[in-house]
């Protein structure tokens, strides 16, 4: 069994040497969402299912007291949605905390998906965590001058997004904000309009509604875009 695990993790995930079941096989780096995890189920995913690698960076500073982010919950919820809706899973390559007080509150010109003006702060932030092994990095920060709960605009060639935690910048849908921003990156999926009342609101992950649940959906087209993304690795 141990050899079998080692071989599969090496072949599909590129992990060699001393293998940590928790980190290298499950991609679990946080303790904020404890739960039972099936090794057989994970090995089946590794063998048979397309996946995307991500890394997480929490930015702190000694002058900043922010609500503690829940990166493992965010990953687990993204995995629930991606596996249920698109048969894709999310593999965390690493999660680090960096003491960079100057980047806890980001100086940003805009959060535009196209023609985005990359600020000096964004240039610095999106350099962090590039050696963790994933092409897509999520940054947990305090806030940004764009007063948003998250933003997937990023410098060219450094894919990633940030999530906020300050009073005016906590995500309005905290359970799925990570998955929502990730889906802007993976497959370059845009927002979906929710029909005006009295029509029932859409349950799609890519609406901008508040308090979206983990049962949020993705369409076949959105899944096709995710599956065609260059950072999704196929068996």
């Amino acid at each position: 069994m141990a050899t079998n695990v080692r071989t599969r993790v090496a072949d599909r995930l590129g992990k060699t040497g001393t293998i940590s079941l928790k980190k290298d096989v499950f991609g679990v780096y946080g303790n904020d969402n404890p739960q039972s995890r099936s090794l057989l189920g994970q090995l089946d995913l590794i063998d048979t299912t397309p996946f995307v690698r991500v890394a997480q960076v929490t930015v702190v500073g000694d002058d900043i007291v922010t609500p503690t982010p829940r990166p493992q919950r965010d990953l687990d919820n993204a995995n629930t949605i991606y596996q249920r809706e698109c048969d894709v899973w999310v593999y965390c390559e690493g999660s680090i905390t960096v003491d960079r007080i100057e980047l806890t509150f980001l100086d940003q010109d805009d959060c535009a998906g196209s023609n985005h003006s990359v600020s000096a702060d964004e240039d610095d932030l999106f350099d962090i965590g590039r050696g963790l092994g994933a092409n897509i990095v999520c940054y947990y920060i305090w806030s940004s001058t764009v007063v948003a709960g998250g933003c997937a605009a990023h410098p060219p060639g450094r894919r990633g997004f940030w999530l906020g935690s300050g009073p005016n910048s906590s995500p309005a849908s905290p359970l799925v904000a990570f998955a929502h921003e990730l889906t802007h990156i993976v497959g370059d999926n845009g927002h979906v309009s929710s029909p005006p009342p009295p029509a029932p609101p859409s349950d799609n992950l890519m609406t901008q509604l508040a308090n979206k649940p983990v049962s949020s959906t993705l369409t076949a087209t959105q899944c096709d875009r995710i599956l065609a993304d260059p950072d999704v690795e196929h068996p």
């Binding site: 535009a112 001058t145 764009v146 007063v147 948003a148 933003c151 309005a172 929502h180 901008q208 508040a210």
Partner: protein, 152 residues
């Protein structure tokens, strides 16, 4: 309470700023007036909407809102002060500079960081003189070095 169009209200309420960025780019005077009416400490105004209005009006570039933003500053928390100072730095008038300088001695390092950035953005002789003062006397090494970088 300001009377906001459905589109503007949505842009102010949603998680990301891209819809508001589109409204800023459109530059409709009605949107400007509606955003300006949010620059009040009236408790009926949602603080997040007010913070978003400050963001939008700082990027709109019309300095007629400088006094409104300055009037808000004493009432804002740290996150709000940073947003207001950033907006004033983008508007760049002498009155905006006056408002920014009232926070040159703010106890929060992140606030002083944005004071330094705003001064660098304004870059008038008076702003540069204040940057030199920050580079010499600010208790934070980070603020001092940022001020020096802005002057370089």
């Amino acid at each position: 309470m300001a009377n906001l169009s459905h589109e503007l209200l949505t842009a102010l309420d949603v998680d990301e700023s891209c819809d508001l960025d589109a409204i800023i780019a459109r530059r409709d005077p009605d949107d400007f007036d509606a955003l300006r009416r949010l620059l009040t400490t009236d408790p009926a105004v949602n603080p997040r909407q007010r913070a978003r209005a400050v963001y939008a009006l700082g990027r709109w570039g019309d300095p007629s809102v400088v006094d409104d933003i300055r009037a808000l500053l004493p009432e804002l928390d740290r996150e709000g002060r940073i947003g207001a100072i950033d907006a004033l730095g983008r508007l760049g008038t002498e009155a905006a500079l006056d408002g920014i300088l009232t926070h040159a001695g703010d106890p929060s390092v992140p606030v002083r960081t944005f004071v330094t950035r705003a001064l660098g953005r304004i870059a008038t002789p008076r702003a540069e003189a204040e940057l030199r003062e920050l580079a010499r006397t600010d208790p934070s090494e980070r603020v001092r070095s940022l001020a020096e970088a802005q002057l370089a």
